[in-house]
Point group: D2
Chain length 350, copies 4
């Protein structure tokens, strides 16, 4: 018997990825779809502007979209609601006893909500008990980071462990799908780029510090280093590319940096979680890689792909990384979180 | 009577810009076109893969393309030869008495060749006399910087003067036309970007230090700061975008940085050189600008367009800049150099 | 003294082209801007998502956007309202005494409204008097065709005159700007095309028959031939390309077809109307032209550019044509109509 | 034991598809790779500009590229050589006893060479015996059509059988990968399209008539109808879209046309050939489909996807179709041909 899953925001691009990735999943099956008022009461395939290259799974195609209010017929919910809705809706579901595995930004920085990356901070799950007690909820909320953040922290985490990070500079070249659908207008994307993404730089400068920090004595102690982020939208469908430079607390060399990155393994790999990449960080040796169209599906889109590791003139090392923004950067991140919650006994069938 | 101009590399993308920008120029007229062996002896319009949206000027259309060897029937030559040819060819023309106004990279870092940006270092023209004596040439070579460098240094120069620069970090998102024609394959450019441009990062990390340095006692003293460059190719036809962060030697604030940038005026503006922008640096206030398709033609493509000036977490300030890579970044740069040479009496009719 | 112009729908892409093309126009000056409720009462530059590469003209930048209801302080109005609004609003302005020069589709096929292309059917202006009498209006409505239609009919008209058209097949590859802003989502436009444009094929199959017909005895007699249209959206910013085949009533050859096309001149050329192209149809000889990025601005975007005229296996001849969809296909078409109305004494200062 | 396969032209885009599609194939395994002189003697992964999103298969990665001359260690060869080489090389291999399964155009229209589409004309395999006798070869050549042709004929074949075709008009919007790598320059593909593909229209106007004709009494009788083709290159990576109109010899209606298309099954489906699509023609009902990015991988890229079947004003019916140009349009076509040859006993292990 699989866990029965509801999806909040099922008609959006990330909702579609949830639907796609949950087809034939060994642990989960979709039993409820919910979305905004506009879609309520209608058949999924009629209201969803499906934009993925694989067809809508048969089992889901004819489900009726419900309102984003509890109860839903499911054991847990995945949420990819827009931030204008996610705050209150996710709280309502948690209060009603549902584990809420959220990709939305609203609760990420809450001081009792895990901002979970299973390879990095599964110890933060200890915050769930505090959260339930403090908020008097029978359910709870677990979040995953912003798409740009998660691709970045997967590379930062092993470096932080091995060498200690002192500063990080990142300039992102982000895919169109990160803005949802319809999202970016085509006239802004053809023969053009946009050097601004609302709210993104703040997320990328703050989320990693919570993720790489510690949950101790009932509170989060943030990692102690500085991040500078500049975020750009480029005409690529999927795959965020990031030009990164890091300053480390320990002296090391390019060879060691590469080794630490490609040898990185963690709990999801040991536990053999279904959606876990074999290698969370894949390092390419070609000098002109990673490229989004060629490399975004490495490890089924669940890894950060790194290239061009070399010395930097200002900080210590620089490199390029690529992450699939709607897979590991969104739906896949939440799904891996849910798989970790199963493994750690945080989920129950209702 | 105008100066008679020869163009070396006339069939390439930058050569085409020379031809376009010299149409109806008050000081110069094209009298000779030269290109590689393949085109020699053929009519320009038959061998040139013309890629600009304005037609080939009538006066040039029927000229016969000549070999890249002196003599050519002209008073000076503009060179946009590929680096595999430019080194020896430019030296041959200088030895034969021609002023060579070059956009090629070969001689930029030579210790007796000006790497000229008229707004910044017209004092470097003093190197010409040294060059002629030392090399026993009756002509000489003057170069302009790499396309990414020039857009950058136009913004750095007033900051360096006002505050002193200590460090610069730049991540570029460069246009396809920077690679020439056919250049980047379309399969590498659609739904993709390439995080590598051969030799580019080295140029951007080194050229500004010569440009912003001093020519004293017969030698160049380079500016004393560090630059970190990461260069990417994105699917934009024209216009290089750069995400820049700077560390300054003097404390200041965002407002002062903006004022210094937009108040920047220099010799080309005072001399009212024909191709000089009214403002070498244009600062936009919209939070999502500059964008290449909308802003690359500001000041006819001769200015650096800056936006999003704000504080940085690691260095002091960060901002985005945009420069038209085949205008101010190439043909327009060389042309402005030639106009300065006229104003300073470095050119003669033969 | 210039005619004072109001623009209905001033914030849309076509409205922006009106604003751009009317800057420094010898006959017209903008005195009123109107748009939907959302923009009413606000300053133009604050509410208009300006998407053109030249800046908003100074005189217009600070104008306050008004409601789309008469009166407006002007002698005539240009309308580029969405079809959901244009029907009633244009009638209200005509009833209130304003000449309405419309780019909207609502009244194009009305049996007393000219569907005007000055090179083709200025005789249709006779319908204005019928329209005013029948509708008891002191003003009137004159329309221009759909963007795809107008590029097509400019090429068809001289062929129809010379040889008689029996059938036309056209497959269009239309630019993104034709859908307005935000219009087509970037995720639908990158690495993709859409083989459907709502309502477009019907317009292209019907409008040319009215345009190429006669206004006689108070009614329009449509041209008597069949058109087949298939319309596609492709990732090009501006410029509609059309693959055309025609069957003619008179036998002729490729050479004669080309001559007839490139020798086409008509009233706007004789009258030297300000916006008239010197040649309404420009024929290129290169085998791989016209191309939208290179050729859409020929004749300042006011001509149809034709290439590849050759024999067809099913109909008689086939060729490719290109028209600038927001210039000759929209704002420029209306503007040329207004210039003809001035020349023909249909406009008065109020 | 699998048939041992050699690939001629292994480093090109189609060669790469062969390598990709033959990984884990039940009947074939790659034992030899050959390419032009430039690559000869080098390791495949070092000389192949691999452009597919899946990695180079391990078994092939380290193979040494050989010259395109017999002998090669294999039972048959697939050829995707450029037409400048394919003519003589394929003949040499056939003469040396190899079955040559070719995607190249050189021998397609030869009067003793099958232009094979297994769903349509497996009876043409009878030409092989004539070919071998006449040319005194121990091997033979079998070809597949041009990429645009094959997507088209899969839709035409069932219509021709059911209703008889009298005329076909097709305007193609073809993907960049059809031009190989580097192929189309990015500056010709961004914000642009090219209304010309060298030699393509001739192929599309002629090949279908051979394919849909009969091989009788030792010769090919071509189908008796006319085709008009206009071919365009658009900025899409993979997937050729075609706007088609057909005139039929029998009266019918839209519903019947759709039924005939979607009920089409043939020998590859009955024989359950490994690469055969379940449905050779898939009909979509959405009004804005097929779209290349969303639909090109339907049936693993082996089907023609049809949409928008409707009546036409000039011919009888019109519709849009999409085919994956490097899968069913090239490598997949040849592979299916080879699978049919196995099923029909035309292949032997050497």
């Amino acid at each position: 018997m699989k866990y029965r899953v509801g999806i909040l925001g099922a008609t959006g691009l990330v909702g579609q990825r949830f639907v796609q990735m949950l087809e034939d999943h060994p642990l989960f099956e979709i039993t409820a779809l919910a979305a905004s008022d506009r879609s309520e009461g209608k058949v999924y395939e009629d209201v969803c502007p499906w934009k993925l290259a694989s067809p809508i799974p048969e089992k889901v195609r004819k489900l009726t979209v419900q309102a984003c209010t509890p109860p839903l017929d499911c054991d847990l919910v995945f949420s990819s609601l827009p931030s204008s809705m996610a705050g209150a809706v996710e709280e309502a579901f948690a209060a009603a006893g549902y584990p809420v595995i959220s990709n939305s930004s609203n609760h990420r920085m809450d001081d009792d909500v895990p901002l979970l990356v299973p390879e990095i901070n599964s110890a933060h799950l200890a915050a769930i008990e505090h959260q339930k007690q403090r908020r008097e909820w029978s359910g709870y909320i677990v979040t995953n980071p912003n798409c740009t953040t998660i691709a970045l922290v997967l590379a930062l985490a092993p470096l932080h462990t091995a060498f200690g990070i002192e500063a990080v500079s990142v300039v992102s070249m982000q895919a169109l799908s990160g803005a949802g659908y319809p999202g970016v207008a085509s006239l802004d994307a053809v023969d053009n780029l946009i050097p601004y993404i609302d709210g993104e730089e703040e997320k990328v400068e703050n989320e990693p510090l919570k993720i790489l920090g510690q949950f101790e004595d009932g509170r989060f102690n943030f990692a102690d280093f500085r991040i500078s982020a500049q975020c750009n939208r480029v005409p690529v469908t999927d795959g965020h590319t990031e030009a990164v430079a890091v300053k480390l607390r320990t002296k090391t060399d390019v060879k060691s940096v590469i080794e630490v990155l490609q040898n990185f393994r963690a709990e999801p790999q040991l536990l053999k979680l279904h959606s876990a990449p074999e290698k969370p960080v894949v390092v390419l040796s070609e000098q002109n890689r990673p490229q989004p169209r060629l490399d975004r599906n490495i490890e089924r889109g669940m890894a950060t792909v790194v290239g061009r590791v070399r010395k930097d003139n200002i900080l210590d090392f620089k490199f390029v990384l690529l992450g699939h923004n709607t897979i590991r950067g969104a739906a896949g991140a939440a799904l891996l979180n849910a798989e970790l919650l199963v493994a750690k006994n945080f989920l129950r069938k209702r």
